[in-house]
């Protein structure tokens, strides 16, 4: 093993260098025999990071357990547990640590057998980069596609595919290019950032630390060059401020401090903040720190663990979130809600069924929660979404969750710390699922909707294509069938007032609704039209065309139009589609707004039989 000290480097110079070195956390994944352990062993070996006593133990182990005919088997360096070594499999995520002159690394070594989904999701939740092993002989397998999918689901910003065992395909460039194309195409479908693909032989050490003479056609970086070269993602001080309160510290009546980690952004003494979920506002009084560590701070940024005091006596305890008001990112606030939509990686052997209750931990808050609905299960091989009643072990699905107390959430892709959650089985205490919040519903569910959500899943056809999938997704997200509601009648018949009332009511139920007001159209789109019956009909036609576009996006559109000619209303009905069109005559309507609301709600229910309207 070589020294970390450079030739002639003083300790002081080393410490400065080491302290300023960045830390990269990455994971390795692959199927059972793809050579993952060998790759890690090779990384340690070729960077000369193996202690002499470990090397000696390795040489002895290789004779007994090795697969290299008594020669040194680098895989044994990392295959940790005795039980595993005997069975030749890796049971669980193993963590490795090593440094080079440039960087420190933490490796999450994720095994690729039956529990791969759970292990890979676990590893990925701590990492920013994934190295997926592909056996050059076998090419992309189900497993490879799944690894990339999980990496994209967990939001890993960097992907690397290492095409291993190139020596066994004679370092054939065309074979490598074929696999490279396959992998890039799959990642493009997933929408992940473009990955790097590297040809390697872990067994012989090609392109791991040292470039290979076997692949003169490959001019890209080696694995180590990549690891040392990719930018390390650190939380930005410019992001919105989020402090997740872990613990209240009260040594005396004079001091009440809130301890926790700043997961995002930064804060300074005097900044205006609010405590969620209560929404109470105050200012940061102190960023307290002991004298030995240098005393109080004026400013502090993520990802520090800190202790703050607040200017006013506001209620704040474990599970609360302190956010900024105004300033950087002040306009982006988490939702406070009891209903969320999330992607789950199911990790329990007992399948998930709708109606099951758990403890849910999100941030530092733990609340009782119920999965009220399974929207679909993803077929990881085709990315198809299947409406199913259960999510099985190692499957991934989209669900609706209702919590017993309000929680503070943000979409996972915007704010990991408030979008990541786990579900805990209340009987076994097992971690049943990892979840990523898609959206938080800012409205309390009404009794009616809660009833609806626990009813059987609607009979929606599986999507035939990505486009159809999105329309389905939108409709499912808003729990509505896209529809156009035409309120027509003479001027002053109350159309517009009712249109806005319906819109507001639908919003409050969590639907996505929008009003198109005929009068407002005349200020722009229909500026050329007069108030003749013909032009009023033309105005309706234009409104209907706009409505059709919005319907395709899954919206409920409320049209408020004079529309005096029955023929024009029929035209609009044809344009939009009979099943999606409901006309209400405000001249005739008795004035019973409640009845009208009920009709509209019935019409947009996802489980309404088409044609019943």
């Amino acid at each position: 093993m070589s020294s970390l000290l450079n030739e002639g480097e003083s300790l002081g110079a080393f410490i400065e260098r080491y302290r300023s070195m960045e830390l990269l956390r990455f994971l390795t994944c692959g199927s059972v025999d793809d050579g993952k352990s060998t790759l890690i062993g090779r990384l340690l070996h070729d960077t000369d990071r193996i202690y002499d006593d470990h090397r000696k133990a390795l040489e002895e182990d290789s004779k007994v357990h090795g697969t290299q005919g008594g020669a040194v088997d680098l895989a044994l360096l990392v295959d940790g547990l005795k039980a595993e070594r005997e069975q030749g499999i890796t049971i669980d995520v193993a963590w490795r640590y090593f440094s080079t002159a440039r960087r420190s690394f933490i490796i999450a070594d994720c095994p690729g057998h039956e529990q791969y989904t759970r292990n890979m999701a676990t590893g990925a939740s701590h990492c920013q980069l994934a190295i997926t092993l592909i056996d050059a002989r076998h090419g992309m397998t189900r497993q490879t596609r799944r690894h990339a999918f999980i990496a994209s689901l967990l939001g890993l910003p960097q992907m690397v595919a290492a095409v291993n065992k190139m020596d066994l395909v004679g370092w054939d460039e065309s074979r490598f290019r074929e696999l490279e194309r396959d992998f890039l195409a799959w990642c493009a479908r997933l929408g992940t950032p473009e990955p790097m693909v590297v040809p390697i032989s872990a067994l012989h050490g090609d392109c791991i630390v040292h470039p290979s003479t076997n692949a003169p056609w490959y001019r890209g970086p080696t694995i180590l060059q990549l690891l040392e070269g990719v930018p390390v993602m650190t939380p930005s001080a410019d992001a919105p401020f989020r402090l997740l309160v872990q613990h209240v510290i009260r040594p005396s009546l004079d001091f009440r401090g809130f301890a926790g980690r700043i997961e995002s952004g930064s804060v300074a003494v005097g900044d205006r903040v609010q405590v969620l979920p209560s929404g109470r506002q105050t200012r940061i009084a102190r960023i307290a720190r002991d004298e030995l560590s240098g005393g109080d701070l004026q400013f502090v940024a993520a990802p520090s663990s800190v202790l703050v005091t607040l200017a006013d006596e506001v209620d704040c305890s474990r599970g609360d979130v302190i956010t900024c008001v105004g300033g950087v990112g002040g306009s982006q606030q988490p939702a406070v809600c009891t209903s969320i939509e999330a992607d789950l990686v199911w990790m329990d052997e007992t399948p998930l069924v709708a109606g099951a209750s758990f403890l849910m931990r999100i941030g530092t808050r733990t609340v009782p929660a119920t999965v009220v609905r399974i929207r679909y299960v993803v077929d990881v091989d085709t990315l198809g979404q299947h409406v199913r009643d259960s999510i099985e072990w190692n499957e991934i699905g989209r669900v609706d969750i209702v919590t017993q107390q309000p929680i503070v959430v943000e979409p996972y892709r915007n704010m990991r710390a408030l979008g990541a959650l786990i579900l805990i089985d209340r009987v076994t205490n097992a971690t049943a699922a990892a979840g990523m919040v898609r959206s938080g519903d800012p409205h309390e569910p009404s009794p009616r909707r809660a009833h609806w959500m626990t009813s059987p899943a609607p009979t929606l056809d599986p999507p035939a294509s990505r486009g159809a999938g999105e329309a389905l997704e939108r409709a499912a997200r808003w729990r509505q069938r896209p529809a156009a509601i035409l309120l027509f009648g003479a001027p002053k018949s109350g159309k517009t007032r009712r249109a806005f009332a319906i819109e507001r009511h639908l919003w409050q139920q969590g639907h996505a609704a929008v009003v198109i007001d005929g009068q407002a159209l005349r200020s722009g789109l229909s500026r050329d039209l007069t108030f003749s019956d013909e032009d009023r009909s033309e105005n309706l036609r234009r409104a209907a065309e706009v409505a059709r576009l919005l319907l395709d996006q899954g919206m409920v559109v409320i049209l408020s139009m004079v529309a005096p000619q029955p023929s024009a209303r029929d035209l609009a009905r044809d344009l939009i589609g009979t099943d999606r069109f409901l006309a209400i005559d405000c001249g005739e309507a008795s004035g019973d707004d409640a009845a009208m609301l009920r009709d509209v709600e019935a019409f947009i229910r996802p489980d309404r039989t088409p044609g019943a309207g």
């Binding site: 970390l4 470990h54 005795k82 440094s99 001080a237 613990h247 941030g363 990541a420």
Partner: protein, 302 residues
Amino acid sequence: MQERRWTHLDELEAEALHIIRDAAACFERPVLMYSIGKDSTVLLHLALKAFWPAKPPFPLLHIDTTWKFREMISFRDETARRHGLDLRVHTNPEGLRQGISPITHGSRVHTDVMKTQALRQALEAGRHDAAIGGARRDEERSRAKERIFSFRDRNHRWDPRRQRPELWNIPNTRVHGGESMRVFPLSNWTELDVWLYILQHRLPVVPLYLAKARPVVERDGLLIMRDDDRLDLRAGERVQERLVRFRTLGCYPLSGAVESSADTLEKVVEEMLRARTSERQGRLIDHDQSGSMEEKKREGYF
């Protein structure tokens, strides 16, 4: 505005503080396992920092096998006194009565009775549902799979197949009565990180880590310090004064010294940077048999 740039030691510190605070908040009767060594020194410093200006909301527990170096014991008592901490010391009374010793009974029996069983007794007596310890994953191969929040059943056993997946920084801290959790805030630290942190914060350490002329005997290829006269000399053995220090500290008859002239923290770090062998090489306890640390963990060894 930012006072200095974020370094990877800062990151490890912030992560450890987060873990310690969660452990304190999520368990009813946590305890900090204080074993006096360098890792415990960092752990205790972080625990003090995590709850400042209050005291840590848990006691310190030391499992005393009665075979620790005398300097360790005086350092322990001085540390607890200086910080005004609630230090609880436990020795297995059974083992004491049977006169279990690493010299006559061997490291395996000694470790089982005086450490593993003693720890169980102390955790049960204190009804502790969480024990915070200073173990690191890079110490030993079987530790590489250890969780930060590591679940133990009612018999304090660690089952690698029943460990919970740990996602993001959201630990699942739920346990039923009698079950417990071992919590390892320094999981992601390396030996080098620990020493650099000690150096950076000028933390006091047991003087045994620094080189000094000490009475040692050569035994089974290790340099064993004769800390008291309980270490009987075998035929042909003789006590020599040699300039030595220790990379890890445990029971003195089981801890091998290394010859060294590193008598300051700086020199220790420099020596470690040039080391070609791992810190555990000087520990008899790990060399009983292949996979021995794994076996001990399954039985409830820390």
